[in-house]
Amino acid sequence: MPRPRTAKTKPRDPVVTIENLVKVYPGPGNAPDIRAIDGIDLSVERGEIFGLLGPNGAGKTTTVGVCTTRVLGTSGHVEIDGLDVRKDPARVKLGIGVVTQFNTLDRLCTAWENIYFHCRYFEMSHREAKSRADELLQQFRLSERKKSFPDELSGGMAQRLQVARSIAHRPSVLFLDEPTAGLDPQSRIALWEIVTDMRSHGITVLLTTHYMEEADQLCERVAIIDHGKILVCDTPANLKKRLGAETVIDLHLDRPPDGLTSRIKRLAGVVKVDPSADGLRVLTKGGGVVLPKLVNAATRYGLRDVSVAEPTLETVFISLTGRELRE
């Protein structure tokens, strides 16, 4: 298990290197250009599971698109395993696996054939491809559905098959773009296990997600991205530690909290106060002493409910952007 490290520590063996990446799309009609990626620097170390966490439209998919040769960056430099993605995309593709947000399984081929032909595209002989397809279907618990066509598989099975196919040629880096979007909770957990297992196969994983639990559970390091910029990059534990708070207290109020915010800010143990959808979110430290004082202060603002939780990556995101991840 790699040690957690801060973003400032230079990774020793970077397998994905992104330097000052910019991607500008022309705006539709007379609309201004869209800066989907606005100067990103990132390094992903060999063997780690790295997460790009951000809301929809933050630039996650475009970043993965550039790394996987399907999007041409406007400026900047991206290397995968020492190879420039712009100069040598064909060779870069030899060493990467990709699962996009869409189900890209070959609809006219069976589950088994999807893996078999993928292997054939990657220089494997008939015999190698055949045994690799059998092996992966078994590993991903899909052997019984080997003759099924993609349209006959459930969402979870199709996603497992896509991951199985993407690692069939033994890539050194696997890119997963929103791998669990649209999956039921059970399939999501099954996929998390698969991703965690990648580490034992020595595969570096770069995944994008807008689920903070996913980034928290799976990733050794997380970069939070918004409006095409990386806001912070660190281990989930360090990111939460940066908040300087131990507890997040949500006060759900019936009346607008005018004046309450400044009162609460003066209380000992309060680190930060942010407005939330129906009240205030208060970051605190120093144990439970502050809670009764908060309740007391909020009562006359129509306090309806209080929830207490540990800080999450969502809290980190909100404290950085003032918005929720799912907005």
Partner: protein, 281 residues
């Protein structure tokens, strides 16, 4: 530098490309074998019915076309005129249904082309494979159609191949042009526009492709004779006419060969460019 990097950089580019290309052909072949019935149906139905109605039923019921008798030699039946034309149509139609229609869906709906795009080759190779596989199917279509257009007619069909290399070369060239045309169409249209492909491309191309009449016979309608020259099917029909029914009027070899090579170059260029643009943002 890691061992993986060295391994990646040491692998022979040619070998990687050839394997990926062959793998994609293999995949397409597997799909066609599984879908052999739709393949045969779409290949056979048009030439079969056309030949059946115009060269079997019409002569039997005493209705038909008056083909001017040539100054020298025996009379030429409509059935004979049709042979090269229907073979050419079958090839173009195959290029469109084998390449264009699946591509329109793969790009527009399912995005399943992504897996082949991620194969370790330049993206244009994936488009080239589409042209080559479309061409293979077009050759098969030509071979399947031949017996039909020769056996079914109730009037005599006179075919003699005096120049085999010309026939083989024409079929290969025409099949590649069909595949490239399929790629251009497949990368241009959206799934909801599929019916348009038939009404604005397939039908005009077929009716104005010198399939049912030699190009020279259009002389009385001069503007049309000039206009149809933009249609690659004209040169396929004329080329096959020279190869199969040389006694009928046909363009000279340099004209249709030049036009077909030109069409192949242009359609391939635009088809591949459009393919790459659809894939790489």
């Amino acid at each position: 530098m890691s061992s993986t990097t060295v391994a990646l950089q040491e692998r022979s580019r040619t070998s990687v490309y050839v394997h990926a290309f062959a793998g994609m052909l293999l995949r397409d072949a597997r799909v066609i074998v599984r879908e052999i019935f739709p393949f045969l149906t779409r290949t056979i139905m048009n030439p079969f019915l056309f030949t059946f109605v115009f060269t079997y039923v019409f002569p039997k019921i005493g209705q038909g076309f008056n083909i001017p008798k040539p100054a020298a030699g025996p009379a030429i039946s409509f059935a004979t005129i049709l042979v090269p034309g229907l073979v050419a149509v079958a090839m173009v139609f195959q290029g469109i249904s084998a390449v264009a229609l699946p591509l329109v869906n793969e790009f527009g709906r399912t995005r399943e082309i992504e897996d082949r795009v991620m194969a370790p080759v330049p993206v244009a190779f994936v488009g080239m494979e589409k042209i080559v596989f479309g061409a293979i199917q077009a050759v098969l279509a030509a071979l399947i159609v031949f017996p039909f257009v020769i056996i079914i007619p109730s009037t005599p069909v006179s075919i003699h191949v005096s120049n085999w290399p010309l026939l083989v070369g024409m079929i290969l060239l025409a099949s590649l042009v069909s595949g490239a045309l399929g790629l251009v169409i497949g990368t241009t249209f959206k799934p909801q526009q599929i019916p348009l492909i038939f009404s604005i491309i397939v039908i005009p191309t077929t009716f104005l492709g010198c399939v049912y009449y030699p190009w020279a016979r259009l002389a009385p309608v001069k503007w049309l004779q000039v206009l149809v020259l933009v249609n690659p099917l004209v040169y396929m029909s004329e080329g096959l006419r020279m190869a199969l029914t040389p006694e009928l009027p046909h363009m000279s070899a340099w004209a249709f060969l030049l036009a077909l090579f030109g069409a192949l170059a242009l359609l391939s260029y635009f088809g591949l460019r459009s393919f790459v643009r659809r894939v790489v943002a």
